[in-house]
Amino acid sequence: MSVTVFTKDDEDVIEITMSVIPFTGTSKKVYWGWMSTPDMLVEAQIVVLQGASTVLSGAKVIADFRTGNAAPMYLFMAERETEPIKTVWYATADDSGAIGPDQVFSVIGVVNGWRVYRSKTKTYFTTTTEFRLS
C-alpha cells in the first residue's frame, strides 16, 4: 500500500510517495564483517564491518572477509528484519570448505531492525565467500 502527495518547490512539482513495502526494483541492503564474541552485536565486543552491498533479489554477493581478520573470528551478515529469511550461504570453490553445510550461519537476533546471522564457529578466512539473497 502506498500514498502519494504533492507540493511545490518554487515552480517545481514535488511528488512524495510513502510505501509500507519496498518499491518495485528496490534492492536489498546487506552488511557483513566479523565479531569477537558469539553474543549479539554489542559495544563490548569487537565488531568490524567489512563490507556492504545493495543487491537485487536473487543476486549473489561476494563477501570479502579477509581484510583485518588476522585471527579466527565469528562472521556475521545482517539484512533488514522485514526481509524473509531466505538467505542462502554457499561455499566458493576456493574457501577450503570453511563455509557451507558444516559452517552454517544462523540468526542470532535483531539489532536496530537488522536481522543478524552469525557463523557457528570462529573461522579464519583466507578467501572470499559468497552468499545469495532470494
Binding site: T7, I16, T26, V110, N112
Partner: protein, 124 residues
C-alpha cells in the same frame, strides 16, 4: 491531484502498531524525476504537542537510511523495542530536508502518526 502550493505536502498520514518494527519507504520526485536523496540530510520528529516522542535523522544509527535505487529512496525505521515504549494515540510529524550545497531547508511533508495499542506485550 491536490498540490500544496505553500509549505509541506499534507495528508501523508501513517498508522503503526505498538511494539512492531516500523518501516516506511519514501520516494521523492521533482518534476517526475527521482531526486538524488543521499546528497541531503533528513530529519523528522513525531510529537505530541510540545513533547518529542521519536526523532529520526540521517545521522549514523539515526533511523533514516538511503536505499540506493536510481535516485534513492528513504527508509524510515523504528525498532520494535522503541515502538513498544510508545503510548497509543494520534501524533503529528513532519520531515525536513536540508540541501547539502546550499543549506536550504525544506519541510517536505507532514501528517498524522497513529499508534494502535498492541495486545501481546514484550516479554519481561
Amino acid at each position: 491531484m491536490a498540490v500544496s502550493l505553500s509549505g509541506p505536502a499534507l495528508g501523508l498520514d501513517t498508522s503503526v502498531y505498538r511494539g512492531d518494527t516500523m518501516e516506511r519507504y519514501i520516494q521523492i520526485k521533482r518534476n517526475g524525476v527521482e531526486e538524488q536523496l543521499s546528497d541531503h540530510q533528513f530529519r523528522m520528529q513525531i510529537r505530541s504537542n510540545l513533547v518529542v516522542i521519536v526523532e529520526l535523522t540521517t545521522a549514523a544509527n539515526g533511523g533514516i537510511t538511503f536505499e540506493q535505487t536510481p535516485g534513492g529512496v528513504l527508509v524510515l525505521a523504528i525498532d520494535a523495542a522503541k515502538m513498544s515504549t510508545l503510548n497509543p494515540g494520534v501524533y503529528q510529524y513532519d520531515m525536513q530536508q536540508t540541501y547539502a550545497v546550499t543549506g536550504k531547508v525544506k519541510t517536505r511533508f507532514r501528517g498524522n502518526f497513529t499508534i494502535t495499542d498492541d495486545v501481546t506485550k514484550p516479554q519481561s
